[in-house]
Amino acid sequence: MTLHIVNQSPHAGSALRDCLNAFAEGDALLLIEDGVYAAQEKAPLELPENDVFVLSADAEARGIAIAPDLTAIDDLRWVTLCVEHTPIVSWFR
């Protein structure tokens, strides 16, 4: 199923909202770079129940505590996600 990658803060643009509007049941979401600002406990947008991944290096770099119901991953796991999913859609602007 589709892997959606978002690298924009939910407060700074519509990338995450646009992505969630095109999200289908069973897809996966990966938050990287400024996208991790959506991974906090009290995030502005409701994320899907499961298959939401957050790059821990980017969260740590920004002092963001990842909400417990989300899955923190490293680069290696990111590569595995990309191999497991087709297609991969980048929501970068």
Binding site: N21, A22, A24, E25, P87, W91, R93
Partner: protein
């Protein structure tokens, strides 16, 4: 085994170069017999409005879009929500020579492709 490609056109024309770059990539793919399908979504739906950019010294993106059917892209998709949110009716978003389809659930279209290029 050829890969199926979807071009996701998400940005309005002129304000950034995404729209033009996206169209050029689609035409290049089509010229190489890798005919992509095209989905206009979010602000990308504005690309299909009638335009008159002479006043800002820009070439009309809409006119170049009309090359799509000639390059084999006979059907284009438009995200229904994106159009409605922007108060645009399907009648305003036509492309001569192409079958324009309004799409309620873009997610289910996107997941059918091997590759998705976002612009």
């Amino acid at each position: 085994m050829t890969n199926s490609i979807l071009a996701l056109c998400r940005h309005a024309p002129y304000g950034t170069t995404f729209a033009r770059e996206g169209l050029e990539a689609v035409l290049a793919c089509a010229a190489m017999d890798q005919i992509p399908e095209v989905l206009f979504i979010n602000d990308g739906v504005y690309q299909l409005l009638a335009q008159n950019p002479q006043a800002i010294a820009e070439k009309s993106l809409y006119r170049n879009l009309q090359a799509l059917p000639m390059f084999g892209v006979e059907r284009i998709y438009i995200c229904q929500r994106s159009a409605t949110e922007r108060g645009l009716a399907l009648s305003q978003l036509q492309l001569t020579g192409a079958d324009v389809q309004l799409l309620e659930d873009p997610g289910s279209l996107i997941r059918r492709f091997d590759q998705v290029l976002s612009f």
